[in-house]
Amino acid sequence: MNTIGKQVRLGLNGDEAVAYAAYHADVDVISAYPITPQTIIVERLSEFVYNGELDAEFIAVESEHSALSAAVGASLAGARTFTATASQGLALMYEILYIASSLRTSIVMALGNRAFSAPINIHCSHDDAYAARDAGWIQFFAENVQEAYDLTLIAFKVSEDKKVLFPSIVNLDGFILTHSVEPLTIFEDKKEIKEFLPDREAVNKIDPSNPITYGPLALPDYYMEIKKQQAEAFNSTPARIKEVFSEYEEFSGRSYSPLKKLYVDDADIVFVVLGSTAGTMRTMVKKWRKNGEKVGVLSLTLYRPFPSREVAEALKDVDTIVVMDRSYSFGSPGGQLYMDVAAALNKYGRYNRLINAIYGLGGRDFTPEMAEDMLHATKDPSIREIWVGVRG
């Protein structure tokens, strides 16, 4: 394939890959606060700024709440704006997540997925990504370091697009991706991708010659129309996201789509999963196929807006679906991804058997034995929820 940007092969961990992506995006404002496992991202970006390689303002704020608050201001003022956080930091930003989306900012945030306290834990769960699911942010999940880099670049292009204008989160599993060095291909420099990602042209930015009032008080007479407009706009973003995926493929040679399917089409059992575990499951499924098991894997690169139609279409004829949640939704009918999949199937008139597998909480290694346990569970019709690998 003839690609456009000049690229190089090297080894980076996920955090460094994201930092390189923000650097290559020639970001204008970075507003961030340190938190494990995201910290390397902002350390690298600080080096780029302090060494004069990246002309940006680095706002070393005093909290994540201020990190996102300042990012909202910077994005409204027309800057290409980046932040990064994890876990408790995302929780502290929570109030501003909704505002950032409702004001139609174009912030890109990297989220080094990490479990919520207590007990405090610095390792991977998807609690933070799930906590942001209703806030009106586009969410991508990276499966490996290469994807963390690519999706960060894609996120800038998507969020700043005049047909989109919503902030994005790029999820990468804490430590599993943030701190693991993997080989990947990145662009040689900023200038190599200017054609794919030109300087931001902000719509309705803060401008004294066009005095707009941002963030007014709207009461019952208008609040609902404002939300309906936001909902329609948000739900229409996947069309543009898919176009950007294609443009990026032309530019980089690497292909992306909202879903990734392996052996799903003729499968009796499909595992639905987010993030780095998709790779593990693909290895397992290939092995099981050799043993005659009709199994498949469906992973989501685009988590929000949830690709309901595509998920339902892909799973419609599957007997048993194992939805894997790296989090627990206390008191809910199932885990967060489980509820999404169930609702998507129901929306399109499908009522497949669903099993919810809770796995990997707080960074618990997901082993081939655990995958075997999940497969085993599908053989017992009474099982609807399993905690994979938990002692007791």
């Binding site: 409702s102 004001l103 139609r104 309705n204 009032t213 941002y214 963030g215 404002i226 407009q229 936001q230």
Partner: protein, 96 residues
Amino acid sequence: MSSWPVKWEELPIGGVVDKPGNSLEVKTGSWRALKPVIDLDKCIKCLLCWVYCPDNAIIRRDDDYVEVDYEYCKGCGICAHECPTKAIDMVEEGGE
């Protein structure tokens, strides 16, 4: 309100208000119970009432004498209280 759309499709995106200063459409004069009446014979053009009025309801004329804008005056009475020459009286609405 007159010119503002009501359907979700027609609202400016992001919930912004892009008509600067359009609160002038809201006539707050209806809040008033007492109304200020200015005796220009006593006015010394100090402009304190103009500076203090919370509602921009004191109109500063070209000659620096002042008038009340009853469309917006909420009748707080700061102008009358602060007037150094007692040139402003607060009178019942409907009275003189």
